[in-house]
Amino acid sequence: MISQAVLTCFALALFAPFIHQLMRSHSGWVLAIFPASLFVHFLGYVPGVAAGETYREAMPWVETWGVYLSFYVDGLSLVFALLITGIGALIIFYTGGYLAGHPHQGRFYGFMLAFMGSMLGLVLADNLIALFVFWELTSVTSFLLIGFDHQRERARRAAIQALFVTAGGGLAMLAGFVMLGAATGTMEMSEILAGGSLSAHRLYMPILLLVLAGAFTKSAQVPFHFWLPNAMEAPTPVSAYLHSATMVKAGVYLLARMSPALGGTDLWATILPIFGGATLIYGTLLGLRQTDLKLMLAYTTVASLGLLVMLLGLGSEYALLAAALYLIAHSFFKGALFLVAGCVDHQTGTRETVRLGGLMRAMPITAFAALLAGLSMMGIPFFFGFLAKEVIYEATAYADNMWLLTTVAVVGNGLMFTIAALVAWGPFFGRRMETPKAPREGSLYLWLGPLALAVLGLAFGAYPHIPQDLFVTPVASAIAGYEVHHATFPTIPKMGLPLILSGVTVAFGLFIFLIAGWVRAFLNAAGQRMWGPDRGSDQFLAALDFLSRTLVGLLQTGRLRLYITVTLVVLAITLGVPIIAYGLFPSEISVPQAPFHVYGVLLLTVVGALALMFARSRLQAILSMGVTGISVALLFLLFGAPDLAYTQFMVETLSVVIIALVLLRLPVDTYDSRHILPSLRDAAIAGAVGVFFTVLLIAVTARPMDLTLTDYFAAHAYVSAHGRNIVNVILVDFRALDTLGEIVVVMVAGLAALALIKIRRGKLVPPGNGASPDDERGAS
């Protein structure tokens, strides 16, 4: 059933545009039925998974390489699947209102559903290769969705950048997976995880670094964070779905999934908190600088991902519980706030916070949703976000580097408080501002999604033991690899260090909120015109472009002779290097005893060949070709190959006839003047190739010959194939198919030659290039 759930997403993606054509304005809720039913389907797993069960199913894919399309449901993948399908249903529904009337709305549904299938596959896959394929599929669908508005250059640039960064990281991850498979002997993650920690394996460090490269690029960790804010070029449903709730968490998912096998080491506990903590602070600071609602949210998403990575790096039970809590809470409030930002943009025509204010009266439902989601993000008691923050502080307060980690967490959360207030409070309260469009409440399509997510955040916060038992503990246990226990989360906050830290956070956040304008100005002044990875990636791509253009210009000059020269020089090197390296030059050449006429024929061959090389007229060329061909035929005859000789005689005669016919119409004596210097250079290349061939052949013939095949043919030619001419038997019996192929080649060549002759004269001449060769022929 799991594989069907994933694969039907892709099937539906194909049909989505047609369903949209059929349903028109109703397509939003019609298409939302499917992810909603998937959500219900996955809900069915909840009781079992909460009780500690796992589900696995596999079907063969590329069995020879051990690749199975296998899926695995445990606490971690189930929560992700529920988020993907549940939020997915709301987003598809929301799209029905947000993109209403857009000419490519149907295509958008298709992309979204394809992404949903890829993301579901990613979190449910058990096989590493399958995981990688789904991983890259999310990169590709994300590329399509960011570049959905493909007529804007900024959207195209953001799409390419996102693909470049995430797919590149994915390739590094694939290398890590292959090593992981080699180290453990299996490609199934459930088996790898059951095998315990890999920290003692000698491939541990490369595996970890490569997997981290994949996870950090996908989850936008500093310094790979830059693609995520740029991805805000996508329509808002995409930002809400891919770039806050689901896809960017794929990296976090991967780290969480691999935690039992790769986690718990010093390396892990050093790299992850450093990168995560840096990303948390950096993301919130950059978020404060922004005035665009979506960009502010995007940077807090970067920061939240950093926080999650940091918690996974700590690895204690509290940290894992905090990560699980925050993962779910963040999906709710951030998804809701993104959708709210989309509503505001859609209804007022702007997302600039400085131009928004006092919308409460015009858009009460949206404002209510924003307020609930914002309070959860700020971490106010009775909201799910508060609970997450409490447990985060429990985790940092009892970690090794308590002071540093706690400070980072407090500052990050405080700044997030500020941004949440700016986003959720600023546009709706305070002084009423003029907006490009007169604001009014959006349709049901637009407010249902954010409201549902925001209310869920409150409900989970009010009844924390339900999500704790059903989702949080199973997720934390799956990450830890063992059963994680924690006292039941209290609804009413208890006094203690975490609560005090929460108070400090709120106070700090409020303080920054009050001086937000000043802080923004300061940060803008500090960050002005600073070189960053965003511009760096552009420069890197430009450099790559330049390099390839230079290389092509250097190699592909449009001069055939250069190509031939390069090819032949490479041939000479390929022949020469092993000869010199293995010292194959013969020490002495014995002049063999042979009848006098053999020397004569060999000499004739050389004379014919030399005459051809120096041919200055047609007659000389034709004659010397004939001499060379006939002497080769004679050599065949002398050394026991009458069949070859007969064929060669026939072919030679035909060749000479044809070339006599054609050569009469072609100039031979003109254009052959090479200057001395090029001539010498060409002769040097030619001499090298000739000498190397000679040396190689002498070295080869000096060694013993493997006659297995020859003996087989000789023994079976008469016994099995009833022929006394072994060569003929090989051709028409043992290798009959080859001979058939040979006949086909000859026939095709003949037909092609015929077609060439039959083409009407002058048809191929490009206009303005019509010098008539007839005149020249007459003159020559």
């Binding site: 063999p592 054609v662 254009y671 000498v691 008539s772 060769p773």
Partner: protein
């Protein structure tokens, strides 16, 4: 006998390469002719030379009794001869047609497929 053949074959390959590097396309076609002959002899020699004893089974025997020439390279060369003849004939006709259309067999002037680079090179000279 093989070293002597190897020298002759080396000369033939050298001549092939020299013809390939010519400016005249007709000479490149002649090089193709030389290349196929040289290659046939190369395969023939690599399969070892046996003087005047074709790979035939006598009438009163079911297997050859005395040493015979290696039949396997012969079979391969037989196929190669025919195919290289087809190739040679086709290239020859192609050259003829190209000459008809372009009015030249100078490879430096036969650049209809990559004219941009050639034009810029002319400008440079």
């Amino acid at each position: 006998m093989e070293p002597l053949f190897a020298i002759v074959i080396g000369i033939m390959f050298a001549i092939t390469v020299f013809l390939f590097l010519s400016r005249s396309f007709v000479r490149i076609v002649l090089g193709i002719f030389m290349l196929s002959n040289a290659t046939h002899l190369l395969i023939f020699t690599a399969g070892r030379l046996t003087f005047e004893s074709p790979p035939l089974i006598p009438y009163d025997q079911s297997v050859p009794i005395e040493a015979i020439a290696n039949p396997l390279p012969q079979a391969l060369i037989l196929t190669a001869i025919v195919i290289s003849f087809a190739l040679f004939a086709f290239v020859l006709i192609l050259t003829y047609r190209a000459y008809q259309e372009l009015g030249t067999v100078d490879v430096d002037e036969m650049n209809a497929s990559e004219p941009r680079a050639a034009a810029s090179e002319e400008a440079a000279e």
